[in-house]
Symmetry: D2
């Protein structure tokens, strides 16, 4: 976990911006197209787990090639998420903090400890 | 963009782990369930842009409430992505670096500059 | 199951075409937008099952309101699928027959009986 | 459009049930797993249109191989949708009729003619 201990999302934004600038891809990257791409990549991650039971899901992480497939799909998701944030001046860390504050209220510990219910089911 | 410049990915993992630990949610959070959730959240982001043309998509970002809706969905995506990484010991920055190296080769600048083609279409 | 035994797919196309014609929606309904909508509706169906274990999934079908929610999402999926077929002159039954012939070969009974493997995993 | 003029959803259910029975797949096919599969297939349909502008989307339907790819993904979506309906005794035609009645009220012609607004935006 060395790199995740060093790197900030701001640095990922810079790296991804540079990658796209060199290809002149701003013209294709509006928020809707990027959300389409993000949704497709999220589905490709899920596809790896399709039909698998919990035991089989665990075993995928012990298989070097399968683990790399999983990490590649997660990287694609991160890439498109950060790209939207970079293009539309969104502070992802700030957005996460605010959303988690909302979730603290939607899912108070005393009501949701050990529960898989949705906030509107309790 | 203050927080994206300050906070490391590792710290997001810690924060999310703490949120889930206090609710005793490890029992529900295997990779497949989290990928289901991630896919649903990605789709909820896309839903905000449904039926909108490029002009209408742009205008959403000028509407304070709509922008917060967008940021909330992006936060949910980040939350589940980081949660998988935290539970399965995945270094997201490392995964992104490796995937972007692959993409440098799949999408060489001289062939894909200004192109919206997929790597297997050129 | 009375109506599924009486109504032909062609009649569903006619009904949906009439619904959209009266609203003058052809202008918004190209295949990509409809595929976005279809993907969102599929995700909304999945959302109903999120975090649920198999027992809890079964119980949803015994709850009249929940069952209607499930059926409504399935109807939305069918609506967009048939709408694409109607607009682009696709015979869904023919497409299904051809695809199932392919799947007969990809998943031969002697190799895949009782197996949850994907065709490229065996 | 010959087959869609003859075939009813009931007959698709029978065909798909037979396909799955011969493979003994009931054990893997609960509603949640099938909704996961449906969501993945909907995303694979969308993937064909990724990055394409409206002109490029149209051209895909003039390319015999691309059109068959599109039809194959639509067939996969239909397969999983009908499979859920078959296993859980859902009348898809009835569900569609009821949902379209709701949509007649949510989207009255006089308010939504020529409009791409969502029902809660007007």
């Amino acid at each position: 976990m060395v790199k995740d201990q060093e790197i900030r999302i701001h640095e990922l934004k810079e790296k991804i911006k540079d990658f796209c600038d060199r290809r002149d891809w701003d013209q294709f990257h509006n928020a809707k197209e990027l959300a389409v791409a993000l949704s497709i990549e999220a589905s490709e991650l899920l596809e790896i787990f399709r039909w698998k039971n919990p035991q089989e899901v665990s075993e995928l992480f012990n298989d070097k090639n399968k683990k790399e497939d999983i990490e590649d799909e997660m990287a694609d998701i991160l890439y498109f998420l950060v790209r939207i944030a970079q293009l539309y001046n969104i502070d992802l860390t700030e957005a996460l903090d605010r959303k988690m504050d909302k979730n603290e209220k939607k899912y108070p510990v005393d009501k949701f400890k050990g529960s898989n219910k949705k906030y509107n089911e309790v």
